[in-house]
């Protein structure tokens, strides 16, 4: 399976092989009262199906903006972007991706089960199908037994897991995650990273993951996209497949540290423009 994924991950070699995401010369300029802000400039990126790609960079580098462009929550001002051959809007209308926000963004008046059912209600799934999918996806994130709890009765980590179950409930091929564990403490974050990795290898989803944590990016990703601010652009793309069955201990190994070092170097190079 791993080999197959790697083949798809490098479509440029084969030419015809479809990319999950194909971004070319993408730019996004926000017009503000203080003049234009170049949030993204000339971004080129291809993501193959089944890849786990992390965007890393300092705040203001446009990593979240890039994710929001993929999700059709922002409209680019230049360049092209294709998601499974569709425009972001078409992809959104066809419900091809699940989005996980920085905060769980659960609706506080809905139980955990009802929160997971929210997209299914919007899409018009039958009641039986909704229940079945909610149960299945809550089991996937180890939240069985918490169906009838309200969000405030759960810890931050459990809430974020519920929001992942919600994003997975309608089985999108693509999962977009915007610093999902940024607000959680280190211990919870480690645990969720392991769970996410297992979930990814079980479900074979394509995951785009925004983070500002180097260990998190190296541990999770098959590729790391290092970004730099003003204007937001990609300064390095690092291949980083540490194997399917990696555990947290891998973070002590030389391979891990070598990649982490390269990411840090990239971030530092990007930062020198500031000073």
């Amino acid at each position: 399976m791993n080999d197959m994924r790697m083949d798809q991950a490098t479509p440029s070699a084969g030419g015809a092989s479809p990319s999950a995401i194909d971004i070319r010369q993408l730019s996004l300029t926000f017009k503000t009262n203080d003049g234009p802000v170049f949030a993204l400039k000339d971004v080129d990126l291809k993501v193959g199906a089944g890849e786990f790609v992390s965007f890393i960079g300092p705040s203001g580098c446009g990593k979240t903006t890039l994710l929001r462009v993929i999700a059709d929550l922002e409209t680019p001002t230049g360049g092209t972007i294709a998601i499974n051959g569709l425009t972001p809007e078409q992809a959104r209308l066809k419900r091809q991706y699940g989005y996980v926000f920085q905060a769980p963004a659960l609706y506080p008046w809905r139980t955990i089960e009802k929160n997971v059912m929210l997209p299914l209600e919007v899409f018009g799934f039958s009641a039986a199908e909704r229940r079945e999918r909610a149960a299945r996806n809550l089991a996937l994130v180890n939240l069985t037994g918490f169906e009838q709890k309200f969000p405030w009765q759960l810890s931050g980590g459990m809430q974020q897991r519920a929001s992942i179950a919600r994003a997975l409930s309608f089985d999108p091929q693509l999962l977009l995650m915007d610093e999902p564990f940024g607000a959680l403490d280190e211990i919870v974050r480690d645990k969720l990273n392991e769970q996410l990795l297992r979930l990814w290898s079980d479900t074979k989803k394509t995951i785009i993951f925004v983070t500002h944590s180097i260990p998190e990016a190296v541990f999770l990703s098959t590729r790391i996209v290092v970004m730099s601010p003003r204007p937001g652009r990609i300064i390095d793309v690092i291949d980083c497949d540490l194997g399917d069955k990696r555990m947290l201990e891998i973070r002590e190994t030389p391979e891990f540290l070598k990649i982490a070092h390269r990411v840090r170097e990239g971030l530092r190079a990007g930062h020198s423009y500031d000073d």
């Binding site: 609706y107 506080p108 809905r110 919007v122």
Partner: protein
């Protein structure tokens, strides 16, 4: 005013240990009231010409027939006599009807106008808020009028509404309800605009990623998010709705209603009757607010609010 200020008294006391403070304040107010009865009434002939020591003078002041300021127990006795001690129904040629000598009859006349006005005003207020939240044009064109509407003194506009509607044959309940609605839609609109726009960007973006329709976003997100705001607004709305109904009874020389009792009491110098009507209105307002608070608690509990 008494209706509105009694709104807080309507909140259940005691659960959070507020019983004693409330009792202390009540005792202080009663003491000040009883003490004020003598100076307030001292210009009346009964007291002006009365000899005797302070206590004797106070006993006269607390038992006057038409005092400037009646003592609290006089008001309570009047309330008792005008409700419990008076037959609620009486026999007429049409069968049994409510007895106009009973104060509860007047309270019901006012209450029915209050409730109808409250329903009209709340529905209207919510409808305007929905329009304002969903349409930039409406938000720009309607909001200034909503605010201007409340700068007109209700005492000035109430007779106009009564006369205008009277000329097309609408009298009694409906004009009063419209005055109530005119007053009470405002807090509902303001509260619901705030409530319907209260979902944060992430909650709204989430609906966008699902390509949820405007109706789905409204019913699954905006409306439930607005519930706490709605109930806060309704508590204000119901009390001023009562004020509106009473004000609506003043300029017409209405024969029935708490407002009519206030007016006839002032014509004939029946201060105790005025105060009794005021007390009744205040109790009514408290009851209405308690009812809405109970509905609020039940609703928010179902919606998973922290206990």
């Amino acid at each position: 005013m008494s209706a509105a200020s009694s709104a807080n008294a309507g909140a259940p006391a005691g659960k959070d240990g507020s019983t004693i403070p409330v009792l202390v304040i009540t005792a202080l107010i009663l003491a000040a009231w009883y003490a004020a009865c003598l100076p307030m009434n001292s210009n009346l002939p009964q007291l002006h010409n009365a000899a005797g020591d302070l206590m004797a003078r106070y006993q006269i002041a607390w038992a006057l027939e038409r005092p400037v300021l009646p003592a609290p127990h006089q008001i309570l006795i009047e309330l008792y006599n005008a409700t419990v001690n008076t037959a609620l129904f009486r026999q007429t040629s049409d069968g049994m009807v409510l007895n106009p000598r009973n104060l509860s009859f007047h309270a019901w006349v006012t209450l029915s106008a209050t409730l109808l006005g409250f329903v009209i005003g709340s529905v209207l207020g919510i409808a305007i808020a929905v329009g304002i939240v969903h349409s930039r044009t409406l938000s720009k064109s309607l909001m200034p009028w909503v605010i201007v509407s409340q700068t007109i003194p209700i005492l000035a506009i109430a007779p106009i509404i009564i006369v205008a509607l009277g000329s097309i044959g609408l009298t009694g309940l409906v004009p009063k309800s419209i005055i109530s609605a005119y007053l009470c839609f405002f807090p509902v609109t303001i509260g619901m605009v705030k409530g319907l726009t209260s979902p944060d960007t992430m909650q709204l973006d989430l609906m966008r990623t699902y390509n949820g329709s405007a109706a789905q976003t409204f019913w699954k997100l905006r409306w439930p998010a607005a519930m706490p705001f709605l109930f806060a607004s309704l508590k204000v709305a119901i009390t001023i709705s009562l004020v509106g109904a009473i004000v609506g009874e003043l300029p017409t020389g209405a024969q029935a209603g708490l407002g009519a009792r206030l007016l006839s009491g002032s014509y004939f110098g029946q201060t105790i009757q005025i105060w009794a009507a005021l007390f009744y209105a205040a109790m009514l307002a408290a009851l209405l607010v308690v009812t809405i608070t109970a509905a609020e608690r039940a609703t928010l509990r179902v919606m998973g609010a922290r206990p």
